[in-house]
């Protein structure tokens, strides 16, 4: 069993559902959902994660803090991270990139474009 897994961290149920349905149609990918930054932190050590999609504005810790943690932790530092966020503070997006986010996807996102991006990072055909 070596399925590809994607972790989604977003506090909005609906956004998570949209992301899940976008990813599901790509085929056999395991999706792990976290409804907060804390939950993502808890799930990371017990799951094999190949890609992380995170929101910036979340209630407990924000996406930037999550990315900073991921990039500083030897166990996760190489996992690609996409920021999926509504067009908001330019500064925050810049920071996200500086911290090591690989892609920034604006909500509302284009499902096909997102699928292409995911596929390219996961080396799927």
């Amino acid at each position: 069993m070596n399925t590809t897994s994607i972790l989604i961290a977003d506090d909005s149920t609906t956004t998570r559902a949209m992301l899940v349905s976008t990813i599901e149609s790509m085929g056999d990918i395991r999706i792990i959902e976290a409804s907060s930054g804390f939950e993502a932190l808890r799930l990371l050590p017990r799951e094999k994660v190949d890609l992380i999609l995170t929101d910036i504005n979340m209630p407990d810790i924000n996406g930037l803090e999550l990315i900073s943690f991921i990039r500083n932790n030897p166990n996760y530092k190489d996992i690609p991270v996409f920021i999926i966020s509504t067009e908001g503070s330019r500064k925050d997006i810049e920071k996200g990139k500086e911290l090591g986010a690989n892609e920034y996807v604006v909500k509302p996102f284009d499902p096909v474009r997102l699928q292409e991006l995911i596929a390219s990072y996961l080396h799927l055909s």
Partner: protein
């Protein structure tokens, strides 16, 4: 219509609406808090940020689903809120009222989507966006030197601060607060619990600016956090408050950043769990972990979602309730079989079956109670909405009104809470519109210039009572009578009692003020209030004292899903009367019935009670004459009372009302059918409908 993609899309839209409604509701109560805080001038940054996040989420969600209107409006609100939370604007009452109105428009937009109405709101939105933009001042140029550098924050921390967090940090510095770094090294399996304990303590004495997770000593078992904390207390004070082995508190920017580990008098430092050597299991079983199941099941435990609630479509609960109802019926037929077996001589087996049926009954009643409890929500959820309305209307009318709530914990069926919201809103609007006087008049009458509306709810038997009481001028009964005369509702008011006069208020088209209030905006009268309350088997009564105030008393059933009914027989047929409408039943003989103006009545204590004969109402021919002794079931809906003449009372039973469908809608007096469990289906009487039919034909 219902192809696969269509339903999936519908479900997605429903999910969106559910979440959007949740956000808007929370926004509303937070805006009300903001209005209060704007009065005092001390606004909580957490509150502002939470409101900002609400608007931000809504913008994103609406954008994804292509609801441009909602997205545009929430985007503009978000802009305004961003200015506020970043300190570029000050929240005054004008600004709060712009936010209030935007919120209201947002609510209407979402409601329009819910109802599928294709209304055009472009004018309103443009006006609202215009008002928002007029509040926005051009952003200030960023000041040259940032005092953040003096803090000596590590780049790792500084780099992960959002723009907002940076602003909060600066604001704390500007206010001369001490900035502390609270470093916690926590076990991976239980960090969230412990962290929220620490954060809660911190929040009680300052502001948590950011929480940055970082990599600690043992990345397999532990996770570290740097909490940036602004406070007026000293480092030592805070260190004492969050005292635990795993926590270190450092003061930032004081030149010499001394670090001190917090002493741990409770757990000795030698505790193996506190070293980073142990595996999570050993650490947990060593007893240093916070309470919680620390067993081999830990792995599964921690993977669980942190949220402890589930959102369920009320339709699913209805289905569940229906199944429970059918089980209740199946149970009564099993009990019936047991009784029949006993009568036919199978005594031992019938006793066993009877016992089994009894224990099934107990479990069923637990199940029924359980499902019922899921449907229950506290009335307090309504209160938040009400307080918003009161603040808005009283501001508009220049009246001072204080709202007081009692019994917010009282629980009611979710559907009833939803249905009672509009009527209550209307009663409250009325109380402010017509009840509470202007401050000058109140002062002149020797009252406090601030009026009070008390909303209280409590359980009373199988009902929940909600009272809305104002301390205004009361209802002028003479004025009501005069209006009734003028409208031709009565020929002569000499014999009209005060109680009857108050009833006029509930008649269609009745209003004691000439101008239609702009507040309600929909021109809804009290007749609609009464009908809406009656539709959920509720009643409304008024009590008023001139000069002292008015009280509306709304009595509601706790649930509509399974109801208790009185089973009666009349002219050989069986019917169910919802027990919530039954006030009492009397055993009478023919001699008690008198005829007044060709209508049959009985004298019940001080009042005269009109009677209705079921066989006449439903035009049933009697095969036998009515028994000499018969029953009168006294029923009441809202403030109307009536007696139904029946042959016999057969007992009480739980029933599930099933609709008869549209084709039977035109038959008055029937609200549906119910299965009695012995393969008999009976009709359920619609008491409200019968009363209004009788009143019509009587006049």
């Amino acid at each position: 219509m219902s192809d696969h993609t269509g339903t999936a899309a519908n479900k997605a839209v429903r999910d969106f609406l559910a979440e959007a409604e949740e956000i808007v509701e929370q926004l509303g109560s937070e805006l009300a808090d903001l209005a209060d805080q704007a009065d005092t001038g001390d606004i909580s940054p957490d509150l502002l940020n939470s409101i900002f996040r609400g608007a931000h989420s809504l913008k994103g969600l609406a954008g994804m689903f292509g609801f441009k209107d909602i997205s545009e409006l929430s985007h503009n609100m978000e802009n305004l809120l961003d200015f506020l939370r970043l300190g570029r604007l000050h929240a005054d009452q004008n600004l709060v009222s712009v936010l209030y109105d935007s919120h209201e428009l947002l609510t209407s937009l979402i409601r329009a989507v819910t109802e599928g109405a294709g209304s055009d709101f472009s004018v309103e939105i443009a006006a609202c966006v215009g008002r928002i933009n007029s509040c926005l001042s051009p952003p200030e140029a960023p000041s040259g030197e940032s005092p953040l550098e003096q803090l000596g924050l590590p780049e790792r921390v500084l780099g992960a601060l959002t723009e907002y967090e940076e602003h909060r940090l600066l604001d704390n510095l500007a206010k001369g607060r001490v900035i502390l770094n609270v470093h916690a090294s926590l076990e991976l399996t239980t960090f969230d619990q412990e962290l929220s304990e620490i954060t809660d303590i911190l929040k009680s004495c300052g502001e948590v600016i950011s929480t940055l997770p970082s990599v600690g000593g043992n990345i397999e078992t532990h996770i570290d956090f740097d909490i940036l904390f602004g406070t007026t207390r000293s480092r030592d004070d805070v260190a004492l408050l969050v005292e635990r082995d795993s926590v270190q508190v450092t003061r930032l920017g004081s030149g010499s950043a001394q670090t001190a580990a917090v002493p741990a008098p409770v757990a000795p430092a030698a505790e193996p769990a506190q070293t980073s050597a142990g595996t999570p299991h050993e650490a947990a079983s060593a007893g240093a972990a916070p309470p919680g199941p620390a067993t081999a099941a830990d792995d599964a435990q921690s993977a669980k979602s942190m949220s402890r609630t589930v959102r369920v479509d009320i339709g699913k609960l209805d289905d569940l309730m229906n199944i429970v109802g059918e089980l209740v019926l199946a149970h009564s037929s099993i009990s019936g079989i047991a009784t029949r077996m006993r009568n036919e001589g199978f005594s031992r087996m019938s006793i066993d079956l009877g016992k089994a049926a009894k224990s099934l009954e107990r479990k069923l009643s637990d199940l029924q109670k359980g499902v019922m409890e899921i449907r229950m929500i506290p009335v307090g959820q309504l209160y938040e909405k009400m307080s918003r309305i009161v603040r808005k209307i009283s501001r508009e009318q220049g009246k001072k009104v204080e709202l007081r709530f009692f019994g917010a914990d009282t629980e009611l069926d979710k559907l009833i809470v939803e249905d009672i919201s509009d009527p209550m809103m209307h009663i409250i609007r009325n109380a402010i519109d017509h009840g509470i006087e202007d401050p000058e008049r109140r002062l002149a009458a020797g009252k406090d210039e601030k009026g009070t509306i008390r909303i209280s709810s409590y359980q009373k038997g199988n009902h929940v009572v909600i009272e809305v009481e104002d301390d205004g001028g009361g209802i002028n009964v003479e004025k009501v009578k005069a209006k009734a005369l003028q409208k031709g509702l009565v020929q002569d008011t000499a014999n009209v009692t005060e109680r009857e006069a108050l009833d006029f208020i509930f008649l269609p088209g009745f209003s004691t003020t000439e101008k239609v209030s702009e507040v309600s905006g929909r021109g809804v009268g009290m007749d609609v209030v009464r009908n809406n309350i009656a539709a959920i088997s509720g009643m409304v009564d008024i009590e008023t004292v001139a000069g002292e105030g008015t009280r509306f008393i709304i009595t509601l059933p706790i649930t509509l899903a399974i109801i208790k009914a009185l089973i009666i027989s009349c002219a050989g047929r069986t019917y169910a009367i919802p027990i919530t409408s039954v006030l009492e039943s009397l055993l009478l003989t023919e001699s008690a019935i008198k005829t007044v103006e060709r209508k049959e009545v009985i004298q019940l204590r001080e009042s005269t009670l009109p009677l209705l004969r079921l066989e006449r109402f439903f035009c049933i021919e009697r095969s036998r004459t009515q028994p000499s002794e018969f029953y009168v079931v006294v029923v009441g809906v809202a403030e109307k009372r009536m007696g139904i003449v029946v042959d016999d009372l057969l007992g009480q039973q739980d029933i599930v009302i099933k609709s008869l469908g549209d084709s039977f809608r035109k038959f008055k007096g029937i609200s549906g059918a119910a299965d009695l469990g012995d393969q008999r289906t009976i009709l359920v009487l619609d008491v409200g409908g019968m009363i209004s039919e009788t009143m019509k034909s009587g006049s």
